[in-house]
Amino acid sequence: MADTLIFDSALRLLRDHADKHAFALVERGEWPTTLWKALVGAGFGDMLGDGLEAGCADAVQVLRAQGQCAAPVPLLEAMLASALGHASTETLPVLAALPQRADVIDAVVARWPGRAQALACTAVGTCMLPTAAVPDTRNYASEPQISINTVAARWSPLPAAIGFDTLWLFCALARAAMIRGALEHMLTLTVDYANTRVQFGKALAKQQAVQHQLALMAEEVAAAGVAVDYAARCFAQADAAMRWQAVAIAKIRAGEAAGKAAEIAHQIHGAIGFTQEYELQRYSRRVWTWRDEFGNEADWAALLGQRLTASDAPTLWQSITRSPTHSSAT
């Protein structure tokens, strides 16, 4: 129940502030000040203050709500920086900058360079980076970012309670949760559109070919949701191996769902979905970004396959049936 409360309040706040104006700013590469102030003011940047495990359940709900609104803010990065002792303020965002892969230590990706403080974070430790003024790339959703070489960085060790592996894992879970939220909204949008749009004298929704595509989309959305819920539970409760496996599964499943569901959503929307004006693109461009970040489906699948086939690994069935809360299978 607590989960629902935090989800609902985050959703309300985000719906109010992630508006046309905020999206227009971000498209121009400008920082969405009002949206950011509202989120930080409500405490959503500090949700991991009691540790990643303790804050996980609530944080995942907020990130899901962010996905449902496609809210164009680096909320995860702020949550992490805050958990590492560098909380943002309403005027100065501090954003964790992580490497593209967990094992990389000489380069990180900083979001919103020039607008936010970047707290580099790798397996070696953390380090506050000098502000880089010019973004060199933008993600699919036009959000600015820059890759920064950290070879010369003077690292401080990570807090004892936060291992880099756990941090990285949480990032993957967070992106899966954001994808899940976005897909839920994309399904609503697409069903509504199919019910409203009339061609050949009837609503698209009355065409069996369209119905079946939407059924497939609903299946993907449902699977992503269950995979994320299960990973969030394991992240909070299970041992390291189980937690890793559940997050890997969630990132694989949600990442795959993102591609399939976005494809169907666009096909059913037709040309209007391919415009800047209509809101579908806010979601599809973000799920295409999020599925690639912190390990794409193929990266995680290869790692999961490696663990499952290790010479000392249990049987596949034992790995699948292990319980997050009991020591043996249930």
């Binding site: 069903v191 369209v210 539970r233 694989i252 290869a302 790692l303 499952l308 596949l316 049936t321 043996s328």
Partner: protein
């Protein structure tokens, strides 16, 4: 959009204990070479095995004790069924009675029917088949033409049923027949006037003819009913109310682990054969299908928990079956392309792939075709 409810289910500790017992039993059976592991719940009928399972108390696990059941939870039953499937146990003889026919009698049957049929099912001695499909009534089940005409003390049935799995070795088939003509004009007219009967598969007037399936096995049958008499006491529930009863079985029929584990042994054998490999394509495929199956299992457990609370999540069940069938069909297709990437040839894997490829077309047909399932999901989405 939250039309579909999949709340996570946590298995209770007693389910873990039961899983241990079932695993130990199955390991002993395999060690004693009691049977060859099979790919599928439909393909290996063993009276002896079913009796041993019954003796362990694992058939009718959730049913009341007065009918031979064990009054345990739906989640414990789930654990038993998934362990049986993964081990490739020859469960065909008791499968339908345990999953569908028994629960149907518990829900709609008379007290006399429950006392007469259920104890034998729980002992693994009484087996049921499903008499639904006909030559002209497949997905469109309401168009069944087998007729039931009222006679003194019972009904006379005439017609043809097809695809009746193991009718030649089961004792009874819950058979759907039209007992009153469809009344034109009313919105659900086609669904009225259908009745479920307990058909004795040794009744006079019934002929059972084999239909050999694609892999060359005799699992299907045709049943020809020629003035077969069925007594009034073998009508299930309300005469004419069969449609509602049939549709109430669907969540049980469609949400279980047999809807995504049909090719599990292909994947688990691939995992064993891939140990020590560094082939990225091989490892990635294993990881991907494991992610799919583990997620399907959580979805399916969630529905089992809903069923145990008395809910009828037909929509969620349809979704699991369509998604699960797609995954179980994809596994052998992917595995066959990875055989050459394995460190060593694996004859068991080759055989399992061959079996799965041959049986796979049936998976997306039985228990509700893909097309029917997607129609149900579309209705749930508010599209029709």
């Amino acid at each position: 959009m939250s039309v579909f409810q999949f709340e996570l289910c946590e298995l209770p500790p007693e389910a873990a204990a039961l899983r241990g017992e079932v695993r130990a039993f199955l390991e002993a059976e395999i060690a004693g070479a009691a049977w060859d592991p099979q790919g599928d719940f439909c393909s290996h009928f063993s009276e002896d095995f079913s009796k041993r399972v019954g003796a362990n108390g694992w058939i009718g696990l959730t049913w009341p004790t007065q009918y031979g059941g064990h009054q345990r939870s739906m989640l414990e039953r789930y654990v038993v069924t998934e362990e049986m499937l993964v081990a490739g146990a020859p469960v065909t003889a008791h499968w339908i009675a345990d999953r569908q026919s028994g629960p149907l009698l518990l829900r709609f049957g008379s007290e006399a029917q429950r006392q007469r049929y259920l104890p034998g099912i729980t002992r693994g001695e009484t087996y049921f088949a499903i008499g639904m499909s006909e030559p002209d009534a497949g997905s469109d089940l309401a168009s069944v033409r087998t007729r039931a005409d009222k006679v003194a003390g019972g009904w006379k049935l005439n017609g043809r049923k097809v695809w009746t799995t193991y009718a030649h070795r089961c004792h009874y088939a819950i058979t759907l027949a039209r007992s009153a003509p469809a009344t034109a004009g009313l919105p659900n007219a086609r669904h009225d006037g259908l009745t479920q009967f307990i058909l004795d598969l040794h009744a006079p007037g019934l002929t059972i003819n084999p239909i050999i399936n694609l892999p060359g096995q005799h699992e299907f049958n045709e049943m020809v009913l020629d003035d077969v008499f069925i007594a009034d006491e073998d009508v299930v529930g309300t005469p004419g109310g069969g449609w509602a009863q049939v549709t109430s079985e669907l969540a049980f029929e469609r949400s279980g682990p047999e809807r995504f584990l049909s090719s599990f042994r292909v994947l688990s054998t691939l995992v064993d054969a891939a140990r020590g490999s560094t082939d990225a394509r091989l490892l990635g495929t294993i990881g991907r299908f494991t992610a799919h199956l583990a997620t399907l299992r959580q979805m399916s457990l969630s529905v089992a928990a809903m069923l145990s609370r008395g809910a009828m999540p037909n929509l969620e069940a349809a979704l699991i079956k369509d998604l699960g069938n797609a995954c179980e069909r994809e596994i052998p297709e992917a595995a066959r392309l990875l055989v050459s990437a394995l460190p060593q040839p694996n004859l068991l894997l080759d055989a399992l792939i061959e079996e799965a490829v041959l049986y796979a077309p049936s998976w997306t047909l039985r228990g509700g075709t893909r097309e029917i399932l997607r129609g149900i999901i579309a209705r749930g989405l508010g599209l029709r």
